[in-house]
């Protein structure tokens, strides 16, 4: 089960793209076995500060271990897959 937490700045282009890209990715590769929690930094700024989120959008892969951190709009799919350990071979 893949658990994601995506920190976004709602309304900005990058964050919107990140949400879309993540959803597309999960639909394509992790159908049915993913969980996405979206945290809006504008709504929960203290949480963002406390958890060390400086750049948005930031994607946090909580499960399965290891925990991975990724920054950006997630436009480069190949890199995202590599980081998440989802590159070719794993379904």
């Amino acid at each position: 089960m893949f658990k994601f937490r995506l920190y976004v700045a709602t309304g900005t282009l990058n964050s919107t793209q990140a949400v879309a890209n993540l959803n597309a990715l999960c639909r394509a590769y992790l159908q049915g076995r993913h969980e996405i929690e979206v945290v809006d930094v504008f709504r929960e700024p203290q949480r963002a500060l406390a958890e060390g989120i400086r750049m948005t959008p930031t994607l946090l892969k909580l499960a399965p271990p290891p925990v991975r951190l990724m920054v950006g709009s997630l436009s480069q799919t190949q890199r995202v897959l590599e980081t998440l350990g989802l590159d070719s071979g794993v379904t």
Binding site: V41, R54, M55, P57, L69, G72, S73
Partner: protein, 578 residues
Amino acid sequence: MKSERSPAATASRKAPTGIAGFDEISGGGLPRGRTTLLVGGPGSGKTIFSLQFLVNGARYYKETGIFVAFEETSKRIAANADSFDWRLPELRRKKLLFVDAQPKPDLMQSGDFDLCGMLAGLGAQARKMKARRIVFDALDIVLALLPDLTARRREIYRLHEWLLQRELTCLVTLKAAADEPSSITQQPYGFMQFMVDCSVILNHSVVLGVSQRNLRVQKYRGSSFDENESPFVIGKAGFEVAIVRLLGRVDADVTNERVTSGVKRLDTMLGGGYYRAACVLITGFPGTAKTTLSGAFAEAACRRGERTMFVSFDSDGTEVVRNLASVGIRLDRYVKNGLLRMVSARTINGSAEMCLVRIKAFAQEHRARCLVIDPVSALSKSGNELTAHGVAERMIDWSKADRITLVCTSLLNEISGQAEGDDTSLHVSSLADTWIHLSYLVQAGERNRGMSIIKSRGTAHSNQVRELILSNAGVTLADVFTAGGEVLMGTMRWEKESAERVATEVAEVARTLKRVTLDTQQAELEVRLKAVQTELIAKQVERTLSARTTASRKAEILRGRVRMRELRGGDAAAPRRK
């Protein structure tokens, strides 16, 4: 040309940094509610400056602040700040927040990103703390992560908007080599210029082996500022920027009080002594007793109960005390009871600036009223030639402002063949109020020390050269023997003096003898006079007696004739008229 603004108005438009000297240079501090750019190479002090800006804001101006650290961790920064007396841990509870924003080393990146997350968090925090100041330390680190120029510009815009909305006084530090000014105008820093109202450049260079640090305000919109490079040091209290006294400051009260120089006859030559808070310069070749003369001053000051500090560049403090004891100047008891502090300045390495900072710090700690610097010419050694004069100027300014009487000695270099009366590159002689020159006269196989007052402002001083005599009874001055246009000192003087003494004695004896002779003669004459007077009286008596005798005989004869006639029976005819 920037127009003059009233001080009150200016003050509210600027956020004072509280950094010694900087507020004077910048005309009050950093622009309030605007962004200042601080640029410098590695190790130039950007982090310290910006942190000090926040610390002082919290401590003195009731303005809380946030420090966003992009390069060093807040833990490291706080640990490094321990060496200053800022009491940072106290402030960190409520008045100063550290935010770690270092990019994680294992950061994976895909696509474009922005700083909204950070700004959102900071915004909330700033609101909570009611922060007025914010520092972004090493912003270039995070800007470098952004994929392209457009992204960088966009984020800079975003930051600018965010700052404007919250009216925070912002200080951004960037790493750039100060000796490549073009790097500052390059993108994206060049692009940042639109949002930056003030920019300050820190420079740290090594000149002839000595480290020199400089600060320069490159631009300041809407304000006048000192455009020159100002040297600074990083001392115990943090940044200390050097400034010469600016015009318009009120002069220190002038006093007519005199303090003794330690040598009585010298005081007389100076019309009472040195002026309080004056600067006295004692110059001379090596071995002419400059240290001794300044030591005499220190001893006299201590005897008056005034706290004194003796800074020695040439010898160790204890050595100086020992050496002076051999001429009857006992400083050890004052060192013991704490009135006198000896500072061995050879242990201060670094630039002349650093020396001055340390000397000031020691003097303030000791609450010194009298200060000796021996020799002040040491400041211009080893790579400090360019800066030494400025340092000397500022030192004299400071000592006058603090009402400290300053006695400096200065070494003239026999080897370099400087003419007598010439000063070293320090040119302290023109700043000093009193200039005493010690020299040697070589004569008849001896070296004797001569002392003369070259100048003394505000005093009618003697123009004579006196001989300086050191003995284990102390320092004294003797009159130089001048006879027939010859100037004699030392044993020749002593010879001449004894010859004079002998001659005086002989003359004295002769006079006495003559007096005695005359006395005798006078007595003799008085006796004779008396004898003659007695004779005169006797003769007068004789004369009187003889006159009486003649008269009585006449009368007797007459009576006899009358009787005879009577006896003859004649009548008593009327006597014939004869």
